[in-house]
Amino acid sequence: MSSIAAKLMLALALASLGAGTAAAADAKAAASIPAADLVEPDALAKSLQVPSASRPLLLHVGFRTLFVQAHIPGSEYAGPTGQEEGLTALRSRVLSVAKDAPIVIYCGCCPWSRCPNVAAAYHALRTLGFSHVKVLHIDQDFGTNWVEKGYPVAKGD
């Protein structure tokens, strides 16, 4: 294939890619989450060293293949909230949860600014009236900022 043809194909591919990235841009960015509602990994890890009855409801709002490999012990899978079916699952999960109950959501699929899930989950819960929602701030990904830091991990469904 000539170089010109290859470049043409690349241009076409990038053009078609635009539709996907535009759709992704419609989702609220993680930066829209107030700093006061973020919790850093070390702080959350310390806060989990308490009896389970005192712990917040921990919800993983990312992708199942990642959850199965590694998640925070005691957390439940409720994602992916960047997609409508994930939001539906999240809303269903919190139906019976008190509006003032502490909830921590997390994902870690991608670099923070690229995560398609956490902001959607946060705003959905706030819209439902939950007043104590925190989001685990995972700067790079769950592997880098949680697993490799040696914080507790579980795996499987």
């Binding site: 294939m1 170089s3 290859a6 470049k7 194909m9 690349l10 591919a13 990038l14 078609s16 890619l17 996907g20 990235t21 992704a24 070390d42 890890a45 060293q49 992708f63 199942r64 293949t65 990642l66 199965v68 490999q69 590694a70 998640h71 012990p73 992916p80 960047g82 997609q83 870690g108 699929c109 991608c110 670099p111 690229r114 398609p116 700067d139 790079q140 990904d141 769950f142 592997g143 880098t144 697993v147 490799e148 830091k149 040696g150 914080y151 507790p152 991990v153 579980a154 795996k155």
Partner: protein, 182 residues
Amino acid sequence: MPPARIGYLPPITAALTLTLAVLAPRAHGAPPTPHAAAAPAGAVAAIAPDFERDDLDGQRRQLRSYRGKLVLLSFWATWCEPCRLEAPRFSHWQQQYGPRGLQVLGISMDDTAAPAVEFVHQLNLAYPVMLGDAELAERFGGVLGLPLAFLIDPRGRIIARYRGEPDLARMEAEIRAALPQP
């Protein structure tokens, strides 16, 4: 935070570094639990773990069968925006460097095949894509964030790992440098 990256390593250095990564204690924080889900990210074998599975077009693929080629093994997903941006470049590299011995292989970590099939056909990617899962991910030390890619030399050794948003110019330079000599 800049993208995490081990980067290009001469083969001997790569083997030593990866071995040390396996042996090294965890950096800090709480002690690991018995349920630690994945090996530390650096704990990948110097020799890439072999695997065999069907690609999205139903053709059987085995990593070992690409010995003799420089393999760029890309873990990605349609929900990963940086992955969506790098895929057309990888496809271009496959066309440009394929005749010189490069083989790009994609592993989609989407929960189902449907979005990956749509994406691959939409972009007409020039390299095979397979559906990944937790079992395959753990063979490579865990795929706990995307994008993630491995550069595997013609002898099957992992010589570089790229994690996070890639510096594509640097990755391409390292690929060009590692292409099999004619």
